[in-house]
Amino acid sequence: MSTNPRHQQLEQLLKTFVSSTAEVQGAALVTTDGLPLYTALPAGSDENRVAAMAAALLALGERTLRELQKGTMEQLYVKGSDGYIVVLRAGGDAVLEVITSNQAKLGLVLLEAGRCAGEAARLL
């Protein structure tokens, strides 16, 4: 564990978000280049691969919005048959990815994820 208080705060922020938000099963804070910063992922997930995919999803989502002239991206979510994946920007250099179960209340998850991303951006 890092001794830098800011790093500890970020790690704690992510852990708190995952444990306190209902139906959130994992989260990852990654750089926009696709490298992991802090992760709290379900067992068996490859954090490097997940980080790269989160950054790619964000980049592609932003590119699509630019192409269709819809302005700045707020959030992207993917619905799978067994749950959601939410991706949103956490400041200029980071991306927050959230993994939920199928029973998640998406409005609540998006609200909490937005707060967590805002706080992470401030700490970064």
Binding site: G44, D46, M53, T64, L68, V78, I85
Partner: protein, 187 residues
Amino acid sequence: MRGKQPACFKDATEPAPRALAYRLRQASGLGQGSGSKGGPVELADRGLEGSGGRPKDRGRVSALQLGLSLEKLEEALVQLKEEVGPQGDVALVTKDGFPLWISTPDQGRANRTALLGFSLTALAERVLEELSRGFWEYTVVTAAEGAVLLLRAGKEAVLLVATDDPSGQERLLEASRGCTRALVQFL
């Protein structure tokens, strides 16, 4: 110039993909070689020909059945376009990234829209697989000035809907789901 077109639909049985492409092109006014600048709705056959739609794969469909299905298909898409509004985009693209039916205010971006829809879908499927979240159902990208929705439309196609109204995304998602249910019957 694209492949040879069927001469008549009344008594002929045509391979489904080729005939669909021909009917869609005729309906859009592109059948006379007017290119993609013909009108607000662009319809293309590239995707159908490129998605492995050979006669052996798809079988043969009677012209009457095909005509009825095509009318329903177009009706569903046009209805959705009306729901989205004149500044919105509706695109039906193959999972290979080829456009099947596109209605966009800017015809110049039709192919790029189809490709972005395909790329985003392919990546979303890969992420869901990696994180064991089952099979892909839909993707929503929200922005300050609108939202983009991508939904599964059968096994071969993806429906892309872009709106200028970010607050109306839930209503639009429902409308798009209704449209994909209609499309699935045909695709």
